[in-house]
Structure formats: structure tokens, C-alpha cells
């Protein structure tokens, strides 16, 4: 295992300490239980946004704490959902009296722990609305599974709902926008290599030199299908086609296109992919009105990418464009 770390069991703590040192102007970090809140929390009268999940997806979620995005993030161990006490403390720390939205990715662990946390928060008279993100079209037969996973759309939901909350919209409105984003966004990912969970010390799955894995999630879990390596153009088709045919996109629709690195794939390749995606969507009559390109929801050092398409309307577009100031995403301010 080749990683720039000290002891595997200290990675999450030390990384969080590093982030605390680096971004003290933007965020405050609490240790034990671990959570991160924006430096000016709680903001009286503003709906607060809390998310969280296993570590290993950086910058998500901690890198998205700040003005115009999350009020708090709870980092779990690598690829392991955080625990209810973290979520409860974070929720209490950011509640400004207007209620708290929990943005939860659809994994059994995240759901169960956030459920427990919401129950505990309600006992302390905090209004909580949980919204589940489940945008991964790689998961078919969602009736016979734990349902679609929450992946790339989470980043977009956190940005857009953060802007809505910043504008002073109500708990119900912010939660509704989050549901709208979830129902308008779809993602599909692929891997060229497996990642290595630090505590495991070896690759989660084995891939041949000439193989890739299509339909992976973000936890180093294998996908639904293994196949021969293919050029970017073909990879883009195999990722975008199930997205486009799942959402009722119509010719002329505007979308936000999000090309994400799983961690080990560099920017030069993401732009090659984006270039192929532009052509593919042109062929479908879809217009990319906004884009996001880079490593935003990663799987440690995994090489690979995911494509997320979000159908835009005027409200979503202006919320996307609104100012944001976090360690990982910053514009307009």
C-alpha cells in the first residue's frame, strides 16, 4: 500500500486536523465526536444543512462546509458512515432555530445512523428533515436492493440547497429543492483501478491490466459489469446513455454536466471525457448550460470517473450560480 499517511488508523483524524489548520477562516472542527461546522455557525433564523458520510470522498463533505453550502459535515471512518452522536452534536451546533436538513446518501449505514440521529435531535426539539439522495443509475432492480446509491448528485444538492438556505428559504422549501435536485439528477461511475482502504492495506477488488469496471459506487465496491478497457468516447457513451434514458430528458433541455474524478484520474483526462460528453449530448439535443469538472466526490486514490447530469430550470440555475465560499468550492464572493 502506497499512501502518504502515518498509521492507517490515524488517517481520518490527522486529515481532519490538517483541514482544521488549513481552513480556520472558513470552518471550525470538533474532535471526538468529529464534525466540522462553518465558522459563523449557528446562523439565527437560517435553515441549516448537515451532511456526512464515510471519509475517503474528499473534498466531500467537509470541503463543502461554508457560506452558501453546508453548515456542518460529519466524517466517518474511511467508507464507513459516521455515527448518530456525531450527527446529533453537529445538528445542535448549527441549528439556528429554523430547522435542519439532513442530506443523506442512500446507503444502509448512512440511513440507519442518520435516522437514529434525527430521532435524538427531535427529542431535543430540533426540527429535522432528512432528504435521501439516490441518483446512481448503475443500480438496477432497486426493488431488490437497498435502492440506488447516493453519488455525484449529492455535491450538486449540497451547493444548490446551501444557496437556497442562504437566501432564507424555509425548512420545507429547502428540503423540497433537495428532493427536486435528487429527482432531476442521475449519475454513473466507472473505475480503472481499485482503491485501497488504509486499514485493509490491499485493493478492495482486482482488475486486470486490460479491464475496467462499469457502474461502480464510491466505496471501492465493485460495479455491476467488468469489461475490456475502451476509449473515452465509448466510456462516455456507456455512462451517459443509462443516465439520459433514465431521466426523461427532452431535446432542448438544459443540463448541468458534472465530470468527476474518482481520485486518481487527473484533470487532463477529465477534459478529454468532457469533450466526448459535449459531443454525445449534442447528439441527444441536450445543452450543457453549466459544468463542474474535477475531483469532488472521490474514492480515495481510485482511477476512474463518474458523470452526473442534472436537469436545470431557472431556479436551480440561479441557485447554482449563487456565491459559495468553502474549502472545496468557491465563487462569486
Amino acid at each position: 500500500m502506497k499512501k502518504l499517511i502515518n498509521r492507517p488508523e490515524d488517517v481520518v483524524l490527522e486529515s481532519l486536523q490538517g483541514a482544521a489548520h488549513a481552513h480556520s477562516d472558513l470552518v471550525r472542527v470538533n474532535f471526538d465526536p468529529h464534525y466540522m461546522v462553518r465558522a459563523d455557525a449557528p446562523i439565527s433564523g437560517k435553515v441549516a444543512l448537515v451532511s456526512g458520510g464515510g471519509s475517503g470522498h474528499e473534498p466531500m463533505h467537509g470541503g463543502f462546509v461554508g457560506m452558501g453550502m453546508l453548515d456542518a459535515a460529519c466524517p466517518g471512518e474511511v467508507f464507513t458512515s459516521p455515527t448518530p452522536d456525531q450527527m446529533l452534536e453537529a445538528t445542535k451546533a448549527v441549528d439556528g432555530g429554523a430547522g435542519v436538513v439532513h442530506i443523506v446518501k442512500n446507503y444502509t449505514g448512512d440511513i440507519l445512523n442518520f435516522e437514529m440521529a434525527a430521532d435524538l435531535a427531535k427529542e431535543e426539539s430540533i426540527q429535522v428533515e432528512a432528504v435521501v439522495i439516490d441518483d446512481d443509475v448503475a443500480v438496477k432492480d432497486s426493488l431488490y436492493t437497498a435502492g440506488r446509491r447516493g453519488v455525484g448528485t449529492t455535491v450538486l444538492a449540497e451547493k444548490i440547497c446551501g444557496a437556497a438556505a442562504e437566501q432564507g428559504r424555509s425548512l420545507k422549501d429547502v428540503a423540497d429543492i433537495c428532493r427536486t435536485v435528487n429527482s432531476s439528477g442521475r449519475t454513473m461511475g466507472m473505475a480503472l483501478t481499485s482503491c485501497i482502504v488504509p486499514s485493509a492495506g490491499e485493493p478492495t477488488f482486482q482488475l486486470g491490466d486490460d479491464e475496467m469496471e462499469i457502474g461502480i459506487g464510491i466505496h471501492g465496491e465493485p460495479g455491476r459489469e467488468r469489461s475490456a478497457l475502451a476509449p473515452s468516447k465509448e466510456v462516455v457513451e456507456r455512462l451517459a446513455e443509462p443516465i439520459v434514458s433514465d431521466l426523461p430528458f427532452e431535446r432542448g433541455d438544459e443540463v448541468l454536466a458534472f465530470v468527476n474524478s474518482m481520485g486518481g484520474t487527473p484533470l487532463i483526462e477529465l477534459y478529454v471525457i468532457y469533450n466526448d460528453l459535449v459531443r454525445y449530448l449534442e447528439g441527444k439535443g441536450l445543452k450543457i448550460a453549466r459544468n463542474l469538472i474535477g475531483p469532488y466526490i472521490t474514492s480515495l486514490e481510485m482511477a476512474g470517473c463518474s458523470i452526473t447530469l442534472l436537469k436545470l430550470d431557472d431556479d436551480l440555475t440561479s441557485l447554482w450560480d449563487a456565491p459559495v465560499k468553502t474549502p472545496g468550492l468557491r465563487w462569486g464572493v
Partner: protein, 211 residues
């Protein structure tokens, strides 16, 4: 013919040791169909649980089991944290205030523990989860105890049933948890949670065999 308070502590400690010894093995099972952390998760939680045991009010089985449950909830995370946390919390509620457990006590404690896990996780038998080890174990223990066999033998039958349930997860296609994302590809692998649940019941049978 009863399980003493110290026996319960020995069970918790031996289970923690078993998890620790099999950390890599459990995570490897999880890597095949999940995300490769089940052993590490459970070990982190059980080590935290050991740390809590000293603070337990004297000889209250229920309090000890609840302390384990709370430790698991706040230290494990993932799916296993709330599920095993619930399991131990329910064992604790069912045995609150007791200084020792009869066969009947253990049977109803197991009953509510399994019910709690199902209420939380919504898994049915055959979904390829820890439920597939827990339900047969619960049923085997109840039948044996009701049939009048000794506590030690009933625990042994419960352990064997858990083992069979665990092994029976191999051919199953997962319908709950991360493994479900693999669809057909989840078949052919043993469920990690069912494996740790079998350990829990096997250690009980071993530690309590002369009770």
C-alpha cells in the same frame, strides 16, 4: 443452569477477542461483496465496548449489555453499528437489572434483539444479512430450551443453527446492504455480518457451555 454476570462479561470479552483475531478475515469477506470494512468496524466498536465495561454498575447484566450497545452505536458507524448496537441495546433492555440469566431469560432476550435488528434494518430471511444467522439461532435456542435440553446444549444447537444460516448465505443473492448492488455477482460469497453473528453465538456456546 444459569449464566452468571461474570459469564456475560467473559462472553463480551471473548467475542471482542474473536473479532480482533478475525478482523482481516471479516473485512476480506466484506471486500468481496461490500466495502471491505466489516472486521475493522466491529473491532473498533468492540474495543470501545471493553473500555466501557468497567464503568458498569455492579453485576447488572442489562447495564453491561446496554453499555456495549451504546459503544457500538457511537463507534462503529456503517450498517453494522446501528444493527449490532440495537442488538445489544435490546439484549440489555430485556435483561435490565438481572444479575444472572436463565435459559428463558436468554431466549426472550434473543427474541427482542432479533426483533430490534429487523425493525431497524428491515431485512427478511434470505436477504443475505446477519438476520440469516440470527433467526435460525434464535429459533433453535427457543425450541431446544422449550424441549427441556440443558442450557449448554441449547446454546450449542443455537450456535450450530447460526453456522448453518451463515453458510446458507453463500449461494444467496443479496437484497439488503451494500452487497445488493452487486446483483447476481453477490452469489457465491458468505455474508460478513452473518459471519460475525455466528461468532457471537458460537462464543456464547463456548463460554457458557458449563453453565
Amino acid at each position: 443452569m444459569t449464566i452468571a454476570y461474570d459469564d456475560v462479561l467473559r462472553w463480551i470479552r471473548d467475542f471482542a477477542a474473536e473479532i480482533s483475531d478475525n478482523k482481516q478475515y471479516l473485512s476480506k469477506l466484506d471486500a468481496a461483496i461490500g466495502d471491505g470494512d466489516h472486521g475493522v468496524n466491529m473491532d473498533r466498536g468492540m474495543q470501545a465496548a471493553l473500555g466501557k465495561l468497567d464503568a458498569v454498575p455492579e453485576k447488572d447484566v442489562g447495564a453491561a449489555l446496554k453499555a456495549v450497545g451504546m459503544a457500538l452505536i457511537s463507534k462503529v458507524g456503517g450498517a453494522a453499528g446501528p444493527l449490532y448496537g440495537t442488538l445489544f441495546l435490546q439484549l440489555g433492555s430485556a435483561t435490565a437489572g438481572k444479575t444472572e440469566l436463565s435459559a428463558q431469560d436468554w431466549s426472550s432476550a434473543l427474541e427482542s434483539a432479533v426483533k430490534g435488528v429487523q425493525a431497524r434494518g428491515k431485512a427478511e430471511p434470505g436477504d443475505k444479512t446477519m438476520i440469516d444467522a440470527l433467526i435460525p439461532a434464535r429459533d433453535a435456542f427457543r425450541e431446544a430450551a422449550e424441549g427441556g435440553v440443558s442450557l449448554g446444549d441449547a446454546l450449542e444447537r443455537s450456535s450450530v443453527a447460526a453456522k448453518e444460516g451463515m453458510e446458507a448465505t453463500v449461494p444467496l443473492v443479496a437484497r439488503k446492504g451494500r452487497a445488493s448492488y452487486l446483483g447476481e455477482r453477490s452469489a457465491g460469497h458468505q455474508d460478513p455480518g452473518a459471519t460475525s453473528s455466528h461468532m457471537l453465538l458460537r462464543i456464547a456456546a463456548e463460554v457458557w457451555k458449563d453453565s
